[in-house]
């Protein structure tokens, strides 16, 4: 029972994320890849994504803080973040990255600063939802394992 409720909650959360544009079809692909033999796949990917993104964002912040910004490096990082966010299906972050890259190409420092902030904002918003999601998943897992035992 509790498990069902939890599952409903989880579905509701994920659906809302889709509706908001936080997630896109790519995330659905990941969900499909998770099955009995790979139960923690989504969680794994999400966790990896969060770690990676935070690292990149920290590096980006450092780069943007410099007096003379090396846009090629910045672009490289943003490109990377864009790649991973698109692979996970985190749409908003990806879109923000695309915008960021635009500014990079133009070597627009102010634009880049703003874009970086947008990316961060989107990311942190997403992260909090992911955290909830993972917690729910863990609890569901715990229930199901308990039930099996």
């Amino acid at each position: 029972m509790a498990a069902t409720a939890l599952k409903e909650q989880l579905n509701g959360l994920v659906n809302s994320m889709f509706a908001e544009g936080l997630l896109d079809e790519q995330f659905q692909q990941l969900q499909m890849l998770q099955d009995g033999s790979n139960p923690g796949f989504v969680a794994e990917v999400v966790t990896l994504f969060c770690e990676d993104s935070e690292r990149i964002l920290a590096d980006l912040t450092k780069l943007m803080d410099q007096a003379v910004v090396d846009y090629s490096k910045v672009d490289a990082y943003v490109h990377q973040l864009k790649g991973s966010s698109s692979s996970v299906g985190t749409q908003n972050v990806k879109l923000a990255c695309i915008q960021f890259r635009q500014f990079c190409e133009e070597n627009n420092q102010e634009g880049c600063m703003r874009a970086l902030n947008v990316v961060k904002h989107e990311y942190y918003h997403l992260r909090s939802k992911f955290e909830t999601m993972l917690q729910l998943e863990n609890r569901i897992q715990a229930y199901e394992t308990k039930q099996q035992n």
Binding site: D52, G83, S84, S87, V88
Partner: protein
Amino acid sequence: MAKVQQMPPSSVDTSSIYGGSSAKVREPIPKDFPVGMRVLVVDDDTICLRILERMLLECRYNVTTCNMAASALSILRESKGGFDVVISDVHMPDVDGLQLLELIGLEMDLPVIMMSADKRTSIVMQGIRHGACDYLIKPVRIEELKNIWQHVVRKKWQDNREAEHSDSFEDSDRRATNDAENNSSGNDATDNAIKSQKKRRDSKEDDEGELDNSDSSSKKPRVVWSVELHQQFVNAVYQLGINKAVPKRILDLMNVPGLTRENVASHLQKFRLYLKRLSVDQHHTGLPNSLSGVGSNAKVPFLGSLDFQPLTATGQIPPQTLASWQEELLGRPFGSFAMPAMDQPLLQQASMQGAKSVPVEHGIAFGQPLMKCPATMPTEFSQSNVAVRGLSSGFPTWSSSKVISASNLGGLSNDSNLQVPVLQQQQLHPVLSESHHAINVQPSCLVLPSQASNNFQERENPVLANQNSVVLPTQSSMSFQSGNNPTPMNQNSIIVPARSSTSMQADNNLGLTNQNSSLTSFQGGNNLGLINRNSITLPSQPLTSFQAGSSPAPISHSSSLKKSSRIVDYNLLSSNSSNVQLGEAQVSDEVFKNFTVLNSYSIPKSISSSVSSCTNVSMGWWAQTLGGNIGPVNQSCLMPSLSNIQGAGAMSQALPDQGQGKNLDLANLSNIRCGGTLSQILPDQGQGRSLGFIGKGTRIPSRFAVGDIESPTNGSSLNDNGEILNRGHLGFNGDV
């Protein structure tokens, strides 16, 4: 030390896909393919890597992941034949994905799929140019991955076809039929395979001139279509009339003992296909006319499609021959220069940067392009396959013992260590017709004029050294040294007129070192990229020294030949699209343009006119020489096209001879790998000048951007010399 491996006939039967002899023995495709297909994924992004891995496992493939290109390479090297396909990201911190692509193509000749979040057409184009067999845009969906096995199958087929074609024709025909029948997937790769096979001389199986191909049914001694033999054949065909030439009658006319009707039949078939292809390309050249006239056209095409068999034993060009050849080239209207369309598989591979394939492709895998330099050469050819007519007896032997056929680029990988570039003797079918001789220089052929001392040294390199035929005039000494380079070293043929000495050194380069050129000394040390050297043919003043220091990027040097002020040299490196740098083109007063891009070699002609066309991996353009010869050749693979243009407007490049000997017929070399394939066909305008490509030295660079294939404006006149070359058109396609 090419390995000659013969596949027992039985194995041919069992696997239709893998039939044929090949230096690389491939295992037959497993029954439940594509399940269990071995994929190597390379991406620095851990997340993508994990997701891909999961997806590929879901497709039931066998997956290995790697997040660094360097480790991927070492994995691949350690387990040769252990993978079926590689998927690699384009943007990686340590090694550029494109470079990796070329390397893999060159060294291992595996299909490589690129992927990136970057979906700009230009980037995708680069990937294709460098030889990617597919390009996926991130985020990658599982449906796309489910289909990647087709690339494996297609490639195997193509390889088989090429192998077959390099073997005796009959066998290949037979095998082709078998393959076709057995091709259940029904993909139309077959057609492509045939085409690419034509274009790409992948004579992996031809090791050192040996035909070790086992045909499906029985082993037949391979017929080596030597220059003389081919000449006889062509004569017979013309005598009978191209439309009326039937194998039986040709055979009778040729009156060659030991030749069977089947040999002739298959040879004729190829010849016809080639002619057809030429005629299609040249709409305004009267092919038939040319056929009747010079017949060079015919030849040219033929050359393209012919597999060059390794040079004959001697592989030497006797001085006299060379001299006479030069004379021929210079004095006569040039026949078409046929550039065989070689697939440049290799080149591509070589993205050559390092050990293997050059980006390109250039692959740079080098498909061994056949280079044909039609030159009006005197008919006799000595044994050497180099279709350098006019060479009198025999060719100088190669000092180097090994010839690496360019075509083996892909196949070279079979030897991880090439001691010396092996000169593959390829049979050159001279396109000889009255007026023109085609010089086919096989990538691997090295024709050295007497007194040429070539020292090829390839030490410890798992690289494939492709040497395109080098035709050295007397007194040329070439020493190639490529030490410790894990990359294939391609040398485009260099035709050096007397007193040219070329020394190439490519040490420790991770990329592909291409040298086209004669008379230049290249030094490339520790370059990680592709070093392209364009060769410059200088008729008498050798010069050009390329030096590519430890550059991680492809370096192209263009050497300019200055010869009677008409030399413009372009270096166009297109192999590494990203890093191609155009070398300096020096334009001397006279315009002599040589462009050699990666694979291009120019045949220096003593007379300024010689123009060598270079095939470049990604772009090959040739400026023409004085004679208004243009020989652009563009090949992604290393297929240098030699075009010698003589002052008289000889054309080097296989151009259908319009009767003037100026034809530029550039076979298209498809490059699989390197760069894209550029096929250029220059129709002969019938004017003495054909332009292959023009570019002034300086212009060229701008014209050819890496990754861009621009067809030179049609026959733009050579500006430098103020000559207006008639150009046929160059059909360059930038597209792969």
